[in-house]
């Protein structure tokens, strides 16, 4: 794993442990160091600044959508293409099984290695990605499948082709479809929720954020360059934007936080998959007990109320 700046002391100890572990006679020192490492880990991760959380949310080794699809769903089949222009690799859609539930999914995929990142356009969708998502929403509505979305994007792609093919209209219609669809929807912000490009697949009945994920109207860097005319002041901007899972819960924008292993999902991916799997199944049972009219009514109330400005 690649350490972030503030994680370096911890990684140094871990490295030392690995070295000493090769020599069995040093077991005592190793045990002592292991305890020290645990303590240090606790210290580092229990007092994270917002900017540090931003870095964890964007961490290269953090599980991405494909990891969750592979390890949380019992089985799935990816489907391709928007039937209009192409197949956007930044958005993965398909059908799957979890517990006894058949579901449809829409997920933003950033990729992990350099090649994957390029292939996935760093998780920045084009209009055809959102239109592929809408196609799967149609399928889900027809077959009455709950929809699960995994949100992880710096934002919708800002490019010539994207604008020519109506990025704004793809996002707007995707939000509209999510809000009018007659089937339950659950969204998980698993890493980075970048503005409208994230909301396009996050306007769900139930919205949750993983503990070290972020969701914001503008990136800290973007905010800093407007506010301080200096993108390097992103750390300050992250504090201003209140973009962590905990902030989002306090602002009433999400319904809950999914617990992560200490330090982030990438430290103990298996534990993360287990947490998320349990969470999804619990939510599916919860929604299963509501009839669709009730779900639509709750959805209306939820988005009607957001940002109350009276009295």
């Amino acid at each position: 794993m690649r350490p972030l700046d503030f994680e370096k002391p911890l990684y140094d100890i871990l490295e030392k442990i690995r070295e000493l572990e090769t020599n069995p006679s040093l077991k005592d020192s190793v045990d002592r160091l292991k305890k020290e490492a645990e303590k240090l880990k606790e210290e580092i991760y229990s007092n994270l600044t917002r900017w540090q959380i931003v870095q964890i949310a964007r961490h290269q080794d953090r599980p991405k959508s494909l990891d969750y699809l592979n390890n949380v769903l019992d089985e799935f089949l990816e489907l391709h293409g928007d039937r209009l222009f192409s197949d956007d690799s930044a958005i993965i859609v398909g059908i799957g099984k979890i517990d006894k539930f058949s579901i449809a999914f829409i997920a933003q995929e950033k990729g992990k290695t350099t090649n994957e990142k390029i292939e996935r356009n760093f998780g920045m969708p084009h209009p055809e990605g959102y239109r592929k998502g809408m196609r799967i929403m149609d399928l889900a509505e027809k077959l009455k499948l709950p929809i699960i979305t995994f949100v992880d994007t710096p934002g919708a792609y800002p490019g010539i082709g994207a604008e020519e093919r109506g990025q704004f209209s793809a996002i707007a219609y995707s939000i509209m479809k999510m809000l009018s669809i007659k089937t339950p929807t659950i969204s998980y912000i698993i890493g980075e929720g970048g503005s409208g490009g994230a909301l396009a697949i996050a306007a769900a009945d139930r919205v949750f954020a993983l503990e070290y994920s972020i969701y914001s109207v503008i990136s800290p860097e973007g905010c800093a360059s407007i506010l301080f005319r200096d993108a390097s002041k992103a750390e300050k901007a992250a504090d201003i934007l209140k973009l962590t899972a905990r902030d989002l819960l306090e602002l009433g924008v999400i319904d809950g936080i999914v617990k992560e292993p200490l330090g982030g999902a990438h430290w103990q991916p298996k534990e993360m998959y287990k947490n998320l799997k349990e969470h999804i199944i619990e939510q599916l049972y919860f929604l299963k007990n509501l009839d669709i009219d009730e779900i639509l009514k709750l959805r209306y109330e939820k988005y009607r109320r957001v940002g109350i400005v009276y009295g």
Binding site: G159, F168, I175, A203, L251, Y303, G307
Partner: protein
Amino acid sequence: MFFQRKETKLPQTEQKRETPDNLWIKCENCSEILYRKHIEKNYWICPNCNYHFRINSDLYLNYILDGGGFIEEYVYNLETKDFLNFPGYAEKLKELKEKTKLNDASRVGYGKIDNFDVIFFITDFRFLAGSMGAVLGEKFFYGVLKSIEKKIPYIALTSSGGGARMHEGIISLMQMAKTTLAVIELRKNSILYINILTDPTMGGVMASFAALGDILIAEPGALLGFAGPRVIEQTIKEKLPEGFQRSEFLLKKGQVDLVVPRNELKTTISKILRLLS
């Protein structure tokens, strides 16, 4: 407790101007020196190059609505909340309120267009670039409910370069969902919804309620899109082609229905209303 204030505003006859009352004015596009009175009479369109000057909401109301105004009621006094304690936001709002005599970038009210009843929603670029915060979301929604109640068309004119308002953080992003939810209500109730897109309409505004009208009308030369041109240039590291993201470009790409000059907006909307009445 909701909608407790009611205030009726008289139709606007006097036009407020931001710029000093000079007799002559230079076209921001072709640099032609123009006689101010001519420009005013010409809907703030340059007679030389057809450039549409950016104008405030009062002028638009004047040009489009009968009697030059509408009745803003109930929601017009809504106060913006500073959800994030964003640095400088409270001061900025105070300053803008004094300067523009508006409470927010958005206004909504009841009016007539060639005698057709409509609910008219408008954003004003002078107020934080016409950006969308929680007050805008609520006003837009309120207007939609009025449209449904009165069974009359909903018309939204946007001049919103800022998109979602950064100062209200994630709450402003959620207004994209809230305004879209309102549009769904218009659909359910078969209420006609028209967007008039003026320079500029970008970001979260363009990617939510402003894109969802039954008919999209753009003013000539307006910058319309999701990502700002500078962001695109920085991303792709090339210069953008001439006219990129402008109304005429979008018409060609199939993204808007009509490009209509400012002096014909009223007759065009009136025609749509006539055809559908």
